[in-house]
Symmetry: C2
Subunit: 182 residues, 2 copies
Amino acid sequence: MIKFCTRCGNNVSFEIPAGDVLPRHVCNRCGHIHYENPRLVVGCVASWEDRILLCRRAIEPRLGYWTLPAGFMENGETTSEAASRETLEEAGANIIVDAPFSMVSIAHINQVHLFYRGRLATAEHAAGEESLEVALVKPEEIPWNDLAFRSVTHCLEHYLEDLERGHFAFHETALGPAFQAT
Amino acid sequence: MIKFCTRCGNNVSFEIPAGDVLPRHVCNRCGHIHYENPRLVVGCVASWEDRILLCRRAIEPRLGYWTLPAGFMENGETTSEAASRETLEEAGANIIVDAPFSMVSIAHINQVHLFYRGRLATAEHAAGEESLEVALVKPEEIPWNDLAFRSVTHCLEHYLEDLERGHFAFHETALGPAFQAT
């Protein structure tokens, strides 16, 4: 994806810099090294009484499928601020963030998905620009077959398990590429 | 830092793209938007019997100060793989990763520091290229006044507390800019 140097605009080569072990995009003129690193997607499993806040996606990927409010963490914010911001932007809900709950590494797309547990400060919620609709659903109403991402399924499964046993832990896993239907 | 487009090499402007809320570097010719996001620094507090693995830094920042093995997570790996890799690279130690232990958001430098708990598979350890020396230290030998980063201090403090009470939790916090000596 990186063809030109962000500092001087010259062509770059893809090579292993001196003292490094991995290939990087290195500028052929000024020598600037362009590092690329995984991105954090941060969100929240937020409750109101016995219901969980879900959003139906208005954008690709997985348009029309249900998800937890989440998105790319921005520079200048903390992980919990990112969880609050995304929940407000996508679901129109102000939350009280309780604790980190689920972390999923998805190495083949260079992402780490981090979900907090939280509670809605009031019952108020409304679809943001990236959501078709937003709903507070009971556990038995979760649309398991219409969830957008496996990290969301993983988070919700553990959330209900922990709710059942009356103790919330921090859950970590890694997901590889999904099997494709042929 | 971004002056030229990575796709076409043209100049970029710093502006809020349509449908966005934050300014980004946008190419004036091809329109490519250059997103910048926080980076994950991943490491490990690794033990061997009653000792903890520490490294003395051979590179800036904080050259000469003690730290836990840690570094920028790379594309294509999971968080626990990053912790293992960094511990092998910086401290020459093979570890068994147990669980995520500490997460620290440092918003003013766009970083999230994530430390795992782990154990050395064997007592073997040796300074890597980025370390002046590596040591297995007893809790009472930790050089508190010569630690490189506050996220490391935070991690070690909680590690010893949890060790003392016999139960390891997952700890999360945020750190702002340090007070400067005047």
